[in-house]
């Protein structure tokens, strides 16, 4: 259960991007998570919500694109989804295959809106000041969804 730490890292990434884009407010962040990344999407969403609750980023939507394990067959050149760790190519039966995806833990996109369309006060707070400070405090969060946010 290290999803709390990972959710926090996502929020740090969002805060860093917002610092580069003054005047914007984040509404949605997309991440890609592979089946082999060892991260549970539900636990991550729960942690993400818990960390943003009552903060300037409250309401920020987390969009998890879950990536299954995919392989490429070097024999017949097909790409296929690996189910139940069956590594052989389902088309030609060949075993000379290489994994091409499935261990992602990476950012995909950020959706932003201009501050004018957001409540000015909350957008202001979201942009720069409070977020990095919050992140700092939460850096050593235990993985279990234990501690409450400091404020």
């Amino acid at each position: 259960m290290h999803e709390m730490g990972i959710a926090n890292s996502i929020l740090e990434g969002v805060a860093a991007e917002l610092r580069r884009r003054p005047g914007s407010r984040a509404t949605k962040v997309g991440v890609r998570i592979g089946e082999l990344a060892g991260v549970d999407p539900d636990a991550l969403s729960f942690a993400f919500e818990a960390l943003t609750l009552d903060t300037p980023l409250a309401g920020l939507v987390l969009d998890v694109e879950y990536r299954t394990v995919r392989s490429h067959c070097r024999e017949c050149n097909r790409e296929f989804e690996v189910r139940n760790f069956e590594l052989s190519c389902p088309a030609c039966g060949g075993s000379n295959t290489e994994r091409i995806s499935g261990d992602e833990l990476e950012f995909a996109y950020l959706e932003l809106e201009d501050m004018e369309s957001a409540k000015p006060e909350s957008a202001d707070r979201a942009s720069a000041e409070s977020q990095p400070e919050d992140s700092e405090v939460r850096k050593n969060e235990p993985c279990a969804a234990g501690r409450k946010s400091p404020e």
Binding site: G38, F85, F107, N140
Partner: protein, 225 residues
């Protein structure tokens, strides 16, 4: 509304610090290995046997991670090598920053081998790169042989699986061949060593593996970039 692409890994900061550590380990030719398993699979016991077997002039150091207590470091210190405990205070894995902090005053030039014993946990440590050259997963025969399928991430990322407590095989319903086959379903190139720290079986093979891995690491370093 405006969508912008976001680049990079989610664990950006950890990845950055781990890359710095990896550079330092390479610069000083220190083979760093990261031992990962469930609690109670025998990481500390394997380390005790390892330190006991190594010649006294070996240039080895150990970092050992736990949520609380200095117990493991105390167990390992009596072999005379530098050992440092990392107590995470609740965090269920080691991260690169903790390694950086705990080796800050060590002279890496005096080391050939750094063994990092991660917090006992088969899930979370697999996401955190510590700058190591190799991850090693331990699986004891008192666990299920389907562990590699239930927790594929760490088996996918480890280059060696040490099957521990093999002296208990006559007493437990554990199919070692099935466990190895499961590990290789997740990671076809997985190397496997069966070890009993109590009976001594497999320890020589384990020590040889470390030695050969060090040679492979040095050979890799002398390749032109």
């Amino acid at each position: 509304m405006n969508r912008v692409p976001l680049e990079g890994k989610v664990l950006n900061e950890n990845t950055r610090v781990a890359a710095e550590l990896r550079d330092r380990f390479r610069e000083h030719r220190v083979l760093a290995v990261n031992l990962i398993s469930s609690p109670g699979s025998g990481k500390t016991t394997l380390l005790e046997k390892t330190l006991e077997t190594l010649p006294a002039d070996s240039r080895v150091a150990v970092l050992t991670g736990d949520l609380q207590t200095e117990n493991d470091a105390n167990r390992l210190k009596r072999y005379g090598f530098p050992v440092r405990q990392i107590t995470t205070g609740g965090t269920c894995h080691l991260d690169a920053r903790m390694i950086e902090k705990h080796i800050a005053d060590w002279d890496l030039g005096q080391l050939d081998l750094l063994i990092i014993e991660n917090v006992g946990n088969l899930v979370c440590p697999s996401s955190y790169d510590l700058g190591e050259a190799a991850k090693i997963v331990l699986l004891s025969v008192t666990e299920g042989e389907d562990k590699p399928l239930k927790y594929p991430s760490i088996f996918f990322k480890s280059e060696l699986m040490v099957l521990t407590k093999t002296d208990l095989l006559p007493y437990v319903p554990f199919d070692a061949d099935a466990a190895i086959a499961n590990a290789r379903r997740v990671h076809p190139a997985m190397q496997v060593i069966k070890v009993s720290c109590l009976a001594g079986d497999g320890l020589r093979e384990w020590m040889n593996w470390l030695q050969q891995r060090k040679h492979a690491f040095h050979a890799e370093l002398s390749q032109p970039a």
